[in-house]
Symmetry: C2
């Protein structure tokens, strides 16, 4: 990982856009290191994953698929606190009690679960696991900072643009037809709205506007084609931060 305050980091905002590639090799190595300590959970959209194992704290590692981490305060609608993708880590204590926390798969995938004390032990013993964990926490904290800034300061269109950008960077692949990016839409409109602190109606309107302006294009129900990446990036104040964050791995390889 490059150092944070490197005065001139080798980012190329105008050149190739760095899209997330599966880090399956690294996760596979991790799985080997975790050995028999981790329970594998196959996830299916909408089911509820229990945040604790038999009353004790647990650690989760996302292997495949996407999940939403939700919180609901009494009298208000649900808030999607984070969207978890492969490589992300969750400790059940990250969700406040008395807040109706829930972990809900947005698509089918796989999850590894360990009891926290066991995982803590592994963290102390295995430097590779520790490094993975600290990296993951680092990334997730940074992502949350961007998320907080988005829901706190952005207007509706900026929020939506930021969300689409995030999705494109994390799960998108360059489209076969050249200039665009295609990516899955694992979340429903309501879920996206709850993630962005928006009304579902307002969100729908905004996305329609993006579609009619030619930036976006729904091919199928749960799939999107981003026609103009640059135009979308120009709509999101967080574009540079997001590209920097998600392009990190790509940079290391270049």
């Amino acid at each position: 990982m490059t150092s944070r305050a490197n005065p001139k980091s080798a980012r190329r905002p105008s050149a190739g856009i760095p899209f997330g590639e599966p880090k399956s090799d690294r996760l596979a190595a991790l799985q080997a290191a975790l050995g028999a300590h981790a329970a594998t959970i196959r996830t299916r959209r909408g089911q509820n994953v229990a945040l604790a194992v038999e009353g004790s704290e647990a650690a989760f590692i996302v292997h495949a698929g996407a999940l939403t981490l939700n919180v609901t305060m009494p009298g208000t609608s649900r808030q999607v606190v984070a969207i978890l993708f492969p490589g992300d880590v969750l400790r059940s204590g990250f969700v406040p009690r008395e807040a109706e926390g829930s972990l809900v798969p947005a698509s089918s995938g796989e999850l590894w679960r360990l009891r926290w004390p066991v995982f803590a032990e592994l963290l102390a013993k295995d430097p590779a696991i520790a490094s993975f964990y600290h990296e993951a926490i680092n990334r997730q904290m940074a992502r949350r900072a961007i998320h907080v800034a988005a829901i706190g300061q952005f207007d509706c269109q900026q929020k939506v643009a930021t969300f689409l950008l995030e999705l494109a960077l994390r799960t998108g692949t360059p489209s076969s037809s050249g200039s665009g990016v295609v990516f899955d839409m694992p979340l429903s409109r309501t879920e996206i709205a709850d993630y962005l602190g928006l009304n579902a109606d307002t969100l729908s309107r905004t996305m329609s506007r993006l579609r009619s302006s030619g930036v976006l294009n729904h091919t199928e129900r749960n799939r999107a084609l981003l026609r103009d990446f640059r135009a979308l990036a120009a709509l999101s104040p967080a574009a540079r931060a997001l590209i920097d964050l998600h392009g990190e791995r790509q940079l290391a390889a270049s």
Copy 2:
């Protein structure tokens, strides 16, 4: 630490309200364990604390005082991502690059700083340090979840009530005159507004309303007297979650 999903945790929402007490003993023990590895930084309100040491990542531990962690996306106003109090931990990687991150003391206090690799080493070697760190991350993640829910879903009054509640629980002490709680207001109106994703004008209006309804009372400039804790708690959907989160230490002692 109590297990997260203990079916009937021994919380007493209606009985005594658990206010934060200084954990100076635990922090003192930590300081001893950190030994000569940590640099001590005295903070003064408004100064800017560099997030990196000579270009490499750093870890910070708050010993005294309060700090704001800020992020500013181009074209939008600053967002206060978190307010850090004694016992909180920050790794410079938690702040996304390209987001104009800054760490700014809200009051005078003290900060310990280590190079990240050194701290990571200590984490692996010293179980007490590891446990402290994981606890801190746990708490901060949970707090951020509440914060996200607040800026995403709450209306103006709920946001303000939640903020005041958080401050009262984290830094307040029962007032000498009996029923109230007094606490410092380390943040300016603008900073509070940026923390809550509100306009400073709107915030001021809302606080005036709370004051005229008798819940709140400014004694001096940077000090507040919370007259009616229960009334304020009733205004915040996050009240239960916050009390649960900040009352934990108190419970352990009881």
